[in-house]
């Protein structure tokens, strides 16, 4: 049976009717129209569905919507501030850290959680922590460069 829940997504509260087996991914995409969060495998194996839950990266395809109640959910649509791209988004654009763009939202949010967690992580740390996000187009090099660029800028700002 469906139940009414309240989810806080990108700063706004939404009252939703969901089934107990609805994943957070399904609710974001189908009920809230936030299609920037992608479904690549539905098994938690590719990272395309990554969102931030209380600031940490989580795979929304293997998280139940009901488990996200009371938490702060941020999707790719929610990291711009006042119409300005997040430094990570800007770095992915400038450094060519994307091709088809399907893995990109997940990549950016995983990187966001790494930078939220640790000031100026090394390239090795970034590679290790992003290993759950797959990309078939870029060979990863320009993604690492983009994250390192944003990393340096974040450091300068702090």
């Amino acid at each position: 049976m469906k139940s009414a829940i309240k989810l806080k997504v990108n700063g706004d509260d939404h009252e939703l009717l969901v089934s107990p087996n609805n994943t957070l991914l399904e609710v974001l995409r189908e009920k809230l129209g936030l299609t920037g969060t992608k479904q690549g495998c539905d098994l938690g194996a590719c990272g395309a569905c990554t969102v931030l839950v209380d600031g940490e990266s989580r795979l929304s395809c293997i998280m139940l919507a009901v488990d996200a109640v009371g938490k702060e959910i941020i999707t790719i649509e929610g990291i711009e501030e006042n119409g300005h791209l997040d430094p990570l988004q800007a770095a992915f654009v400038e450094k060519g850290g994307l091709q088809c763009g399907f893995c990109t939202p997940g990549m950016i949010l995983t990187a966001r959680s790494i930078l939220n967690e640790e000031a100026r992580p090394t390239e090795e740390t970034i590679k290790r922590k992003m290993a759950g996000n797959l990309c078939r187009c870029t060979g990863y090099k320009k993604i690492v460069e983009a994250v390192m660029t944003a990393n340096e800028q974040t450091g300068e700002g702090a």
Partner: protein, 760 residues
């Protein structure tokens, strides 16, 4: 090379990069329409069998189900991407030929009901004996997979250039070796999807599809649905990678249209990841034997090549694939006497199709591995043997290829230097080694009919430029590159150009993304269209300036007399003036471009120039083999690529880097494991393509040539680099541990087994 360009040659972000990082770029699965229904395919769970009866009543009775269709109801029209090799129905009729074959489809109010409904369909099969290996499938008495296809061999090619027998007789050494390349899945991150809608008044169906060839898809849908091409509109939204896998029409395309037409409601299909692995396409596994005759100094005198490709259950691109595999033995080396033979063989397995390199990576693995083995046997340096046999621009070619520009020799040198060849080859401690391998690839094809592109360029009242192109950007950046070409030709800035691409109802004809021909083909069409628009404007400006139109140039939003930048006007003022002179607006340029062919030839019969231009490349690798675990660490990969002039070096690098890592997966990890027709690893977790952790240091080296045919001298960059990373890596493994691997992938198990043998 000194650049005289303003927009071409610049490292510009993709024009849709902001949409992609914001999550607002829309892929097919992201689209919804009011009242949309959801579809699901029922797939065969046996490798080979006759369909005796399908009972759909259970599915039809399920509340929420709106439609069910089986092969019986659909028109009796075979489809296939190559017209002469059509052998597939959108939904199987009478027979299934592999586990995963499309049997029936349902559509329902939500995806869960559709999923439940397909499980309620009961299919009675009469199971038939199945065959899973192409060499077995060719034998007398093997189960026949398609009626009338003898020995299950659906296509064969054999050609000889020069006199191979004589060449072998004159050789100092003749070597024969056999190789095997495995099945590889393209694994684009976006699963295949389609959404269709029907306008019953106009009798017109519109489909949004994750396709890399919208105009071919239109043709295939028209033919299988039995409605005119003009009544099918294919729109390509963002496509999340294709690598060749999205070249074919699939059941999801046909069934979305079928239900939309029958029910009058929009219908969406999205494949699951498992379906992408099992039921779309994969790189053909291939058995190859190469016999090569050389002189003492390593000069190649003759080569004989025999390939058997495991096609799986259907043809897809079969004739093209096996022909390409053979054709590209003729470059990048001089092979004066060559005989090749290729066979495409059906098995009861997932279907082979086009994949980045399209039949050539398998051939290059064999040839480039054998070249290293020969170099070792006769005591010649592997880099030297490649340079010695390199072809050069302008030389006569045995198969009448016209090679206008060729950076192969330089690419070997550059890739060798970048990996530290002289200091490292044969000199590193046991367990560490370097290797290299070369290749060549076409920039599209010349000698086939209907491979031409169109473009329309419209100059707006405020100086903005609108481009219509049929090119299919699938993430490689085609729209960006075409926009740069147009901006350069018109002398405007990148931000002045807006491009609309790949909507068969709006944009001009284009064959789509395959054969690495987009930049040359669609780029030339766009450049010519821009030129036509520019010439109209120049005529007016020339009158105003009292100059000759031929003396005008356009750059940085200005039009001026060559050599006197002060005599001119801004682009915007020129357009304003044009308009107020009562000349007809808008200014429109239109063009169609067809690769020049010196004589009409077909791929399969005659000799002749194959492509408008050819790219050349060498990859070099340094590896470290863990002697205890057998794991190979790829430390560095250098790739030297002659892509003519790079329109956008950042995007070219991205293509090369992605290709290298894809090739690395093919060399070391990836393998679609099939047991008795069942794919055993149809998930990202079990399949395991390279992640951030395996990523090597990558150095991309430009070998710039200026090709006379490509737009601003450009050649292909998307596919060629995936041809030779695998042999380069396996050649490096030989240098590291002295073992010649001839089968891909080179897994830790294989390495440990061979090391064990070696130790005795």
């Amino acid at each position: 090379m000194e650049t005289k360009f303003n927009v071409v040659g610049r490292r510009l972000p993709m024009h849709d990069a902001a949409a992609k990082v914001k999550g607002s770029a829309q892929f097919t699965a992201d689209l919804t329409l009011p009242g949309m229904l959801h579809g699901k395919i029922l797939r065969s769970n046996i490798p080979h069998g006759k369909i005796l009866h399908i009972d759909t009543s259970g599915a039809e009775k399920l509340p929420g189900v709106k439609g069910v269709v089986t092969g019986k109801e659909i028109p009796d029209r075979l489809y296939g991407i190559v017209p002469k090799a059509r052998d597939e129905y959108a939904l199987a009729k009478e027979k299934v030929r592999y586990i995963g074959d499309d049997v029936a489809a349902v559509c329902a109010v939500d995806p869960e009901i559709a999923e439940e409904a397909v499980q309620l369909i009961k299919v009675d099969y009469e199971e038939l004996p199945a065959v899973f290996d192409p060499l077995e499938a060719m034998k007398e008495g093997a189960p026949l997979i398609h009626e009338g296809v003898l020995n299950n061999t659906s296509f064969s090619i054999r050609k000889e250039f020069g006199n191979a027998e004589k060449g072998f007789a004159e050789s100092d050494f003749v070597f024969e070796d056999s190789f095997f390349s495995q099945a590889v899945n393209h694994a684009p991150l976006e699963p295949h999807a389609a959404l269709a809608q029907y306008d019953s008044l106009r009798g017109e169906v519109t489909i949004w599809s994750s396709t890399q060839i919208p105009f071919f898809l239109r043709r295939n849908l028209s033919s299988t649905l039995q409605i005119p091409e003009s009544k099918v509109r294919v729109i390509k939204p963002k496509v999340g990678g294709g690598f060749g896998q999205k070249i074919d029409m699939f059941a999801k395309d046909f069934c979305a249209c079928w239900f939309a037409i029958k029910l009058g409601k929009p219908v969406k299909f999205v494949y699951e990841r498992e379906e992408v692995f099992i039921s779309t396409r994969q790189r053909h596994p291939m058995y190859i034997t190469v016999k090569t005759g050389v002189k003492k100094d390593g000069t190649i005198l003759a080569q004989q090549f025999k390939a058997h490709a495991d096609g799986g259950a259907y043809n897809s691109t079969a004739p093209t694939m096996i022909a390409l595999s053979c054709f590209f033995l003729m470059i990048p080396y001089h092979v004066p006497n060559l005989v090749y033979e290729g066979h495409h063989v059906y098995t009861n397995k997932p279907v082979g199709g086009a994949m980045r390199g399209h039949g050539i990576p398998q051939a290059r693995f064999a040839v480039e591995r054998q070249l290293d083995m020969i170099a070792e046997r006769i005591g010649v340096d592997p880099a030297e043997i490649r340079m010695k046999n390199s072809i050069h621009a302008g030389e006569p070619h045995p198969a009448k290829f016209i090679i206008n520009s060729c950076g192969f020799f330089d690419s070997v040198k550059k890739a060798a230097d970048a990996i530290g060849w002289k200091e490292k080859r044969g000199k590193l401690p046991f367990g560490r080694g370097v290797g290299l391998a070369g290749a060549s690839f076409p920039s599209g094809v010349s000698n086939m009919s209907h491979i031409s592109s169109g473009a329309v360029v419209q100059l707006g009242q405020d100086g903005a430029v609108n481009v219509l192109s049929g090119a299919a950007d699938i993430g490689q950046g085609a729209e960006t590159v075409i926009s740069q070409i147009v901006a350069e030709e018109l002398g405007v800035l990148m931000e002045d150009v807006r491009i609309t691409a790949a909507d068969t109802g709006v944009t001009p004809l284009d064959p789509g993304t395959f054969g690495s021909g987009v930049t040359v083909r669609a780029g030339n069409a766009a450049r010519l269209a821009a030129l036509e628009a520019k010439n109209k404007l120049f005529e007016f400006v020339a009158r105003k300036l009292e100059a000759n139109p031929e003396d005008l140039v356009a750059a940085n939003r200005k039009i001026f007399v060559k050599g006197s930048p002060e005599t001119g006007m801004t682009f915007k003022d020129a357009i304003k003036g044009y308009q107020y002179a009562d000349l007809p607006m808008p200014i429109v340029g239109r063009a169609s471009w067809f690769p020049p062919a010196t004589e009409p030839t077909t791929l399969f019969k005659e000799d002749g120039n194959f492509a408008p231009s050819y790219s050349f490349m060498t990859q070099s690798a340094e590896v470290e083999v863990d002697l205890d675990t057998g794991r190979v660490k790829l430390l560095k990969m250098a790739t030297a690529h002659d892509c003519g002039r790079a329109i956008n070096p950042m995007l070219v690098e991205g293509q090369l880097e992605g290709s290298v890592v894809g090739g690395m997966g093919q060399a070391l990890y990836e393998d679609v494991i099939v047991e008795k027709g069942q794919v055993m690893n149809p998930s990202f977790l079990d399949y395991g393509f390279p992640t951030f952790l395996e990523m090597p240091e990558i150095e991309t080296l430009e070998v710039e040539t200026d090709d006379p045919i490509g737009p601003f001298g450009a050649k292909e960059a998307g596919e060629g680099t995936q041809l030779s990373p695998a042999p380069a890596i396996v050649n490096a493994i030989y240098d590291a541990i002295g073992i010649d691997f001839k089968e891909l992938p080179v897994t830790p198990e294989k390495i440990l087994r061979e090391l064990e043998k070696k130790r005795g």
